[in-house]
Structure formats: structure tokens, C-alpha cells
Amino acid sequence: MRRYSTFNLFLIFLGGLILLFILAPLVGMFLKTSPVDLIETAKDDDVVNSIWLTLSTSFCATIIFAIAAIPLAYLLARKNFFGKRFVLGIIDLPIVIPHSAAGIAILGFISRDTVVGEIADQFGLNLVGHPIGIAAAMAFISIPFLLNAARDGFSAVPVRLEKAALNLGASHFRVFFSISLPLAWRNIVSGLILMFARGMSEFGAIVIVAYYPMVTPVLIYERFGAFGLKYARPVAVLFIIVCLIFFVLLRLLSKEKTDANS
């Protein structure tokens, strides 16, 4: 009995190569890092602080920008207007431009001699080299992921349900919060997680806006440049572990929430 055709074997072979390509470097890195090094690294204040900084700035950037991004995604899913394709193009820009170039653009936007910089200055803030500057860089790079996921989510909510809610006497605000948002929630959460993840892993734009305080991707780069592969590796491994734990937790939490809804 032949269970696999030649074609299927061919597909499995190629697919396997790709999986290996993704997994092998990561597994290799884990294997080459001794638990002792890992524990040492976890005790290193610089590392721990940078991981906290990275997680918290990315988290805040995601939540704050989501407040405006989710309504925008709704607008884009529901309304047709002149120049909509242009707006959609703008939204995808951060994905296609080089991140170091994005960093230069943001630096030019928030540095002290700009309007934004001057306003911040009046509150005694220098955005360059400040977590706010880091958050701005993270959000700039990662917001397309949230916008696109949320837009898909809203598009999938039948317009009829919103019409029915209006007919039942609900205001547009109530319809948005009680019908559209809960039904698109699964996609929005995916978008939030993606945005958070993408912000956390950003290096190119952040390194230009703020070398200090050091987010973990910058710290890994710095350790690699100053001390070499052996010193950079445990930080990388630790950061990956922390990220994975966070994603699994977020996925589980969001799953519970959506299950309760369905």
C-alpha cells in the first residue's frame, strides 16, 4: 500500500527544509547557551531593565495607539470615500520602507527643533532618547498590523447586524461598542498581539531615535559589537523566552475571552 504519492513526498521534503531553516538557528542558539549563562544573564540588571523597558513601551504604544487606530480601522472597513485606496497605501507604508529610514523620519519629527519637540520641551521632556520616543518609533513600525487585522475583523461583521441594532433603537455609539467591536474582537486581539510583538522586536528605527535607554534588541546588538557572539547570545535567548511566554499568555487570555463570547 502506497500512502504517499511522489508529489506529496516532494511537498513534504520542501516544507521540511523551510521549517528546518526557521527552527535550526533558533534551536542551535538555545543549545549553545548554557543554563548557567542564562541564569547569570537573568540576574544582570542591564538586561532585566532593558527587557522591562521593551515590554512596557511596546505595550503602552500598542494600547495608546489602538484607541485611535481601531475607530480608523472601522471607518476603513465600513465607508467608501474618495482617496480610500490612497489612505490604505499610507497605512502600509511603514511595512515597506526601511526601518532605519523610518527612524530618521521619526527623529526629524520629534527632535527639539520641531513643533512636536518644542511642545514636549515646554513640559520638560526631550523625546529623543526617552521612552516616549521609543514608543513612537515602535508604533510607527507596528501600527499597520493592528490596522489591517482590525479592518479585516470589522469587514467580516455583517452590516445587517448593525442595521438591526440601529432599528432596535441603539445609537451609533452603542452599535459600535455592543455589536461591531465584540464581533471583530478576535481579529482586533490578533492585531494587538502582532503590533505588540512587532514593536518589541524593532531595532532599526529605535536605534536611531534612542540608543539609550536601551531596548533589548539594541542591547543585544551592543553586546555583540562590544563583546562578541558568546555574550550577545544569552540575552537573545532570554528575550525570546520572555516573548514566547507573553505571547502564549496573551493568546490564552484572548481565546478565553472570545470563547466566552461565541
Binding site: 432599528n167 432596535l168 433603537g169
Partner: protein, 347 residues
């Protein structure tokens, strides 16, 4: 009273053209039309979900053409029910009650009362994603009735139900109407119009072709389309007296095949099923009547006879038979049809 005056709407490549009609309070108004005739758009314009390009809508003499959806108080039941999938049955009904701002106890009582009316008390705590089509339909109806709408707008409410559920829902709609609920019901099925409506409008390609009582529209179609579209001319309010017997017009007894007894309803006989003869036929057909031809006129490639047997019956007949039996107005003939050709619909 709802008055729709010269409503026009261009929607993509569809045009709703100069629609005018009025619906009195406690009317059961059926808008009959094929799919794509513009029925749903018309309902949504009345509900305020779509804005008309031209024309006015008046309710009790007040212009509501540009009134907000939420303020119109017309409850629309969508063809696919539009039940909120993330809410339970009870929460779906509660959604409509929120805008009523009732206190907790009245809300609870109201939900129980509505659930009882549409017979879903046992479903209140169920998740809506596991309900059948008929159950969803009832939830949608309860949710809309919670608004206590001035007019209930129904978009093809019976089309997705099987025959038994259709009968049940038809009876429920009838009951609601009898209790004073004004209903506008759009459908493609003329039987729904015959059995439920006290006023019918025929909509075709965005135009209203005819409005009137079911008798007016079905027995005197003003256009060829209406004549072809409405499938039946012989329909009568009836009561089944005992098994397999029904009485129409208080004095004419019709034999039929039915398990119902002591039931009111509507009786339908297709014009094609009626036979004409000079003498009474010795045949198995149970229904034999003697009557006078009132009118003969051509339709399509055949002729239609109107025969008075105490009530007026329409029969289709070929030109050959017209000539053979020398059928003309004033002539007396025998007609017969089988008991199994008589259709009874409970209302």
C-alpha cells in the same frame, strides 16, 4: 397611518421608481414581488436604514422622511433574522428593551411575556448559534416586538421555514395582526398574500403595478405581469366543518382532503383544475356544481371563464373546447374538480 409618497431611490444599478401607497393602522399589508423587485430596499427605506432620493414618508400625518432610524419605531425583521451571534436569546431581546429604559422587574416581566407570545420561553438562556431557523425567526420576532413597534416590517418571514413551521408562524402573525399590530410584509409567495393580507401591492422592477384587496388584485389583475405572477384566482375564506368538508360563502360545501377539523383558513383551487361540461359528469371528482358563465376572455393562448356557482370561479380552457361546447356568457354549464385539487391553508 403610514403614507409613502412618490419614493424614488437609485441603488447601484437598481431603481425604485415613484412608489406611493398608504397603510392604515391595523392593516396587514403584503408587498408581493419577485426577488430583485426592490422589496427589501423599500422596507429599509421605510425603516430609515436607507435614505430615499426623492419622495416623502408620513406617519400619522407627520413627515418622517428624514427622521432618525431610532426615532421611527418601525420594527424590521430581516430575512436572515440578523440575530446577534455573541448574545444569548435573552440578551438579544434585552437589546431592544434597553432603549425603553424599564426598571428591572418590568424588564424581566416583559421578556417573559414576549417569549410566551412567540413560544420561546424554553430557549431564553440558549446560545443563539445553536438554534434552528424557525427558532431564530421567533427570537428575531420577539426582539422586534420588544420595541412595541408602530409598524412591524417583515422581510420574507416565511421563506426559510419548512411547512409545519410556516403554518405556525402564519398563525402567529395572524394573531398579532388581530391584536392590532400593523404589519407590512414583503414576499415573493402569493399564497402568503392570499392567506394573510387585507391589502396587497405588487412590485415589479422597482415599480408598483397594482394595489388593492387580495380579491381586487388577484381577480382583476391590471397588467399582464400581475396576471402571470399571481398564480391563483380561486381563493376563499373558509371553515372546515367536519372531516374533508369545508364551507365557503356560508352555503357552498366543498369536498377536500384534509386532516383538519373545525379550523378556519383559506381554500385555493387552481383554474387549470376545473373541468367544464354540458351535463353532470359521472366521474370520481367529488365537487360538482351547476352555474352560469358570466364572462369569457382570452389569456395567453387559452381562455378564462368566470362561472357563477354562488361564488365566482375562474377556469382555464382551450380555444378548441370553447368552440366545441359553444361556451359564451349566459350559458349554463356543469363544473367539477377533484377533492385533491383543493388546497387548504390554515390561518
Amino acid at each position: 397611518m403610514l403614507t409613502v409618497n412618490n419614493i424614488s431611490k437609485k441603488y447601484k444599478d437598481f431603481v425604485l421608481d415613484d412608489i406611493s401607497f398608504s397603510v392604515n393602522n391595523e392593516d396587514y399589508f403584503v408587498i408581493l414581488g419577485q426577488s430583485g423587485a426592490g422589496k427589501t430596499i423599500l422596507l429599509e427605506i421605510i425603516a430609515g436604514l436607507i435614505k430615499q432620493d426623492k419622495g416623502k414618508i408620513l406617519f400619522n400625518n407627520k413627515d418622517i422622511s428624514f427622521e432618525k432610524i431610532q426615532k421611527r419605531n418601525f420594527g424590521l425583521v430581516f430575512q436572515d433574522f440578523a440575530i446577534f451571534p455573541h448574545l444569548s436569546v435573552k440578551e438579544n431581546i434585552l437589546y431592544a428593551l434597553k432603549s425603553k429604559k424599564l426598571d428591572k422587574i418590568s424588564t424581566k416581566e416583559k421578556i417573559q411575556e414576549l417569549a410566551k407570545v412567540v413560544n420561546i420561553s424554553h430557549l431564553l438562556h440558549r446560545n443563539t448559534t445553536t438554534l434552528s431557523g424557525g427558532e431564530l425567526q421567533r427570537v428575531a420576532l420577539a426582539r422586534t416586538l420588544a420595541l412595541e413597534p408602530d409598524i412591524l416590517l417583515l422581510d420574507e418571514p416565511l421563506s426559510s421555514l419548512d411547512i409545519i413551521l410556516k403554518d405556525e408562524l402564519r398563525a402567529l402573525l395572524r394573531k398579532l395582526n388581530k391584536n392590532g399590530q400593523t404589519i407590512i410584509h414583503v414576499t415573493h409567495d402569493y399564497i402568503e398574500a392570499v392567506t394573510l393580507a387585507n391589502k396587497v401591492a405588487v412590485l415589479h422592477n422597482g415599480k408598483l403595478l397594482q394595489i388593492g384587496t387580495p380579491k381586487d388584485v388577484f381577480q382583476n389583475p391590471e397588467s399582464k405581469f400581475v396576471a402571470n405572477f399571481i398564480g391563483i384566482k380561486n381563493f376563499f375564506k373558509t371553515k372546515i366543518t367536519n372531516k374533508n368538508k369545508a364551507v365557503i360563502n356560508n352555503n357552498i360545501e366543498i369536498s377536500l382532503v384534509s386532516d383538519n377539523t373545525e379550523t378556519e383558513g383559506c381554500l385555493l383551487i387552481r383554474s387549470e383544475d376545473i373541468l367544464i361540461s354540458d351535463k353532470q359528469l359521472e366521474a370520481s371528482a367529488m365537487n360538482n356544481f351547476y352555474g352560469e358563465i358570466i364572462d369569457v376572455y382570452p389569456i395567453e393562448s387559452n381562455y378564462e371563464l368566470i362561472i357563477d356557482i354562488g361564488v365566482k370561479l375562474s377556469a382555464f380552457i382551450t380555444e378548441t373546447s370553447i368552440n366545441k361546447f359553444k361556451l359564451q356568457a349566459g350559458k349554463k354549464v356543469w363544473i367539477c374538480f377533484k377533492a385533491s385539487a383543493v388546497k387548504f391553508i390554515k390561518t
